[in-house]
């Protein structure tokens, strides 16, 4: 035991004497949560559009004013013809163009119908779809107003309550997501690199030749990273809570316990990577190139998993982050107890056991 503690102390020295890494380790989550919390949102606001009003009469102006007044759209760029619109699209200046046909008011009055064209830049299909949807809704409302001036247009209304996240804040999704990515990074990447580093510089041989058994060497390696990762998670939770108002509705001890479980899982993944990698570069490529994009994309952090095609939904099952995000959201935003996510918890435990098992099998006391 005394040997183990002094070995752990050695690892802490390694980390603490490197002031820069320490600074990055704690500065990074703070900067990232502040940046993303404020900057990243999927709400449409001021989407640049071009308005090509070929009729320019009183009704068409009221319609286009209404579109602009909604706050979703911002007119940008002069378009006199469809050719101009195409040029604006090519320059990337606008996302959508609203084309009002000639003699708009006249046709509405005398023929009972006139048309508006919405041309959307569908190179970003999600954005195009949303913009067209929003604009259509505004135009439909305008039509109701035209037909029934003064009357309340809707007879069956809906009283909508936005459960769990009343102001539709993107940060509610980002805090759990960011914690997950950070823990994955600090734990998996740092352990794998620091073990690979001992191999690369040759000091691993010294450690293995010492009276310590390999298990103790590894435990001593991961304990400091465990505490650092845990601290990072707490920092992000506090920032989320006090800067952005992301609540923790459920039990805090339970949340912390689940965070610890996830860290242990990520640490054992890091150990597994380091049994394969001989150099820091390989460890880095495996843990960064292999984990970064899948963790961001397939965990449900940004893209909802239910929307993915079936094969991808199946693949997403092997992304540990996916399960952890479900747990975090359940505790933080829904405030429910372990009864709702015991399955996810068991899966994380399963991952941990699997990674440790494979690492032990692959571990070589003798080096190349």
């Amino acid at each position: 035991m005394k040997r183990l503690t002094s070995l752990i102390r050695k690892e802490f020295y390694h980390i603490f004497r490197d002031k820069r890494t320490l600074l990055i380790l704690f500065g990074m989550p703070v900067v990232q949560i502040l940046l993303f919390g404020y900057a990243i949102t999927n709400e449409i606001k001021d989407a640049h559009i071009a308005i090509l009003d070929q009729s320019n009469d009183e009704v068409s102006r009221r319609l286009t004013d209404k579109l602009v007044a909604s706050g979703y759209f911002l007119p940008d760029g002069q378009a006199e013809s469809i050719g101009d619109v195409e040029q604006l699209f090519k320059e990337g200046r606008i996302k959508m163009a609203v084309v009002v046909e000639p003699d708009f008011a006249d046709k509405l009055q005398h023929e009972g119908g006139a048309s508006v064209q919405l041309l959307a830049d569908a190179t970003d299909p999600n954005m195009a779809n949303t913009l067209v949807n929003y604009a259509t809704a505004i135009i439909q409302n305008f039509q109701l107003e035209l037909n029934q001036p003064g009357q309340p247009p809707i007879l069956v209304g809906a009283e909508v309550r936005l459960q769990y996240n009343p102001s539709l804040k993107g940060v509610f999704l980002f805090v759990p997501g960011l914690i997950t990515i950070l823990l994955m990074l600090v734990s998996a990447m740092m352990t794998s690199i620091s073990i690979a580093r001992e191999k690369e510089t040759g000091t691993m041989e010294v450690l293995l030749a010492s009276p310590m058994n390999p298990g103790q060497v590894i435990i001593a390696k991961v304990v400091p990273y465990f505490s650092l990762a845990f601290l990072d998670a707490v920092v992000v939770l506090l920032l989320g809570r006090y800067v952005f108002g992301v609540p923790i509705m459920g039990s805090v001890p339970l949340l912390l316990a689940e965070i610890m479980l996830f860290i242990i899982m990520a640490l054992s993944l890091g150990i597994l990577i380091s049994t394969v990698a001989q150099t820091q570069q390989t460890a880095l490529l495996l843990s960064l190139m292999g984990l970064m994009l899948p963790t961001i994309l397939l965990s449900g952090f940004i893209f909802p998993i239910e929307n993915m095609p079936l094969p991808l939904q199946i693949i997403s099952h092997i992304i540990p982050a996916r399960w952890f995000i479900v747990i975090e959201k359940a505790i933080m935003l829904k405030g429910v107890g372990i009864a709702y996510f015991w399955k996810e918890t068991l899966i994380l435990i399963g991952f941990t056991v699997f990674f440790i098992g494979v690492s032990i099998k692959k571990f070589n006391v003798r080096l190349g």
């Binding site: 900057a39 949102t41 709400e43 779809n129 949303t130 069956v156 209304g157 880095l284 994309l297 893209f303």
Partner: protein, 376 residues
């Protein structure tokens, strides 16, 4: 010149003798490109509704049919108990709960406005917004059609007034089928090429520092710029190779249209890679260990990736954040690739991008060369 060639030869030997790195460098990006491009579908379908119909009338059943016929909603369950509905939301079994008030049909006939209760799971703001929007649209149609008809029947002889209809026609340019893969594949390819370039180059010089071999190079007559070029070129070629493989995959597997000129894309990528490698080299000269270098690179890349305009539109960000994205190289590459590949923009429209990237590349590489001192 001969010195540079020898340095390049040395770098290539180091890259190729590591048998684990090579498959990672070439196979992983291709695999990820193929798999991850399917992930990013924001089109929300199959929203799960928990239906509480306290009216059980033909009017409420018609609304239910309209909802299901729209294709956006599926049924998660029906019932009358609020606790059960709340549990369905908690367990993620339902995305929204709709409750019809008792006596709705009768009261509508008497022209009393009715309120439905709708509870939406809003953790995912985008999804909740769309669910809300779709539901509102269906309800709007329902109002115009059914409710009007219902009241018309009662007020016998009620004269329908002449209606003015605005037809909204929408057309989606450059991607009429709204295929999100045309959007994602080039974007993810950009991310992968950037990651490979930045990570490899940022770990490179610092590795020589850490192992100590940099001292051996420092005592040779090799000039600073020769050393840096020798470091840059192999990764530059590697990056272009990965890009080429990615473009082939985009064409063959995903059938992404190449409206613009492939030559222009290569010309831009060549400059862009210089920028990314310069960025990596700068990190490499600023740090002492590979761990530090990797951390810094990771930090910047996560910011670049999440603020690059691929996952969330830059227009939606607040002004100061949009200003920050002006320093984000990924932003320029993603915009450029979309402009050229999908919209067929040419040199005329993209000059600005070339200018920015070129200036940026000069700046970063210049800083990296200045910063690399030949003293240990």
């Amino acid at each position: 010149m001969r010195i540079i060639l020898y340095l390049i030869q040395k770098e290539f030997l180091q890259i190729f003798r590591n048998k684990t790195n090579l498959p990672i460098l070439f196979v992983m990006p291709v695999l990820q490109l193929i798999v991850l491009s399917y992930a990013a579908d924001f089109e929300i379908k199959n929203l799960k509704v928990y239906w509480m119909d306290n009216d059980q009338s033909s009017a409420s059943r018609q609304l239910y049919r309209d909802l299901m016929a729209s294709g956006y909603f599926t049924i998660a369950g029906t019932g009358f108990d609020h606790a059960e509905a709340a549990a369905a939301l908690d367990k993620n079994e339902a995305d929204l709960v709709v409750e019809i008030p008792a006596g709705m049909e009768k009261k509508l006939v008497r022209k009393e406005p009715q309120q439905l209760q709708v509870i939406v799971n809003a953790i995912d703001g985008t999804k909740a917004g769309l669910a809300n929007y779709y539901f509102g649209r269906i309800l709007g149609d329902y109002n115009q059609r059914e409710v009007a008809a219902l009241q018309m029947r009662v007020v016998a002889g009620g004269q329908p007034t002449a209606r003015q209809v605005i037809n909204v026609e929408s057309s989606f340019w450059f991607n009429p089928e709204l295929n999100y893969k045309t959007f994602m594949v080039p974007g993810i390819l950009v991310l992968l090429v950037t990651m490979i370039g930045a990570f490899l180059s940022s770990m490179n010089i610092v590795r020589e520092k850490e192992i100590g071999t940099i001292e051996q190079i420092n005592v040779t007559p090799i000039q600073k710029y020769q050393f840096v070029i020798g470091k840059l070129l192999p990764f530059w070629l590697l990056g272009l190779m990965v890009l080429s493989i990615g473009l082939i995959v985009a064409k063959v597997v995903f059938n992404i249209p190449f409206v613009g000129s492939v030559g222009l894309i290569y010309a831009f990528s060549a400059v862009y890679l210089l920028l990314i490698l310069g960025f990596g080299l700068l990190i490499s000269t600023l740090t002492d260990t590979q761990q530090q270098a990797m951390f810094l690179a990771w930090f910047f890349l996560v910011v670049f990736i999440l603020m690059g305009g691929l996952f969330t539109a830059i227009e939606n960000m607040p002004g100061w954040a949009q200003t920050i994205t002006l320093f984000n190289p990924i932003r320029y590459f993603i915009e450029f690739v979309r402009l050229v590949m999908l919209k067929g923009a040419g040199w005329q429209e993209t000059r600005f991008f070339f200018a920015v990237i070129f200036a940026y590349a000069l700046l970063l590489n210049g800083l990296a060369i200045l910063n690399y001192k030949k003293t240990a």
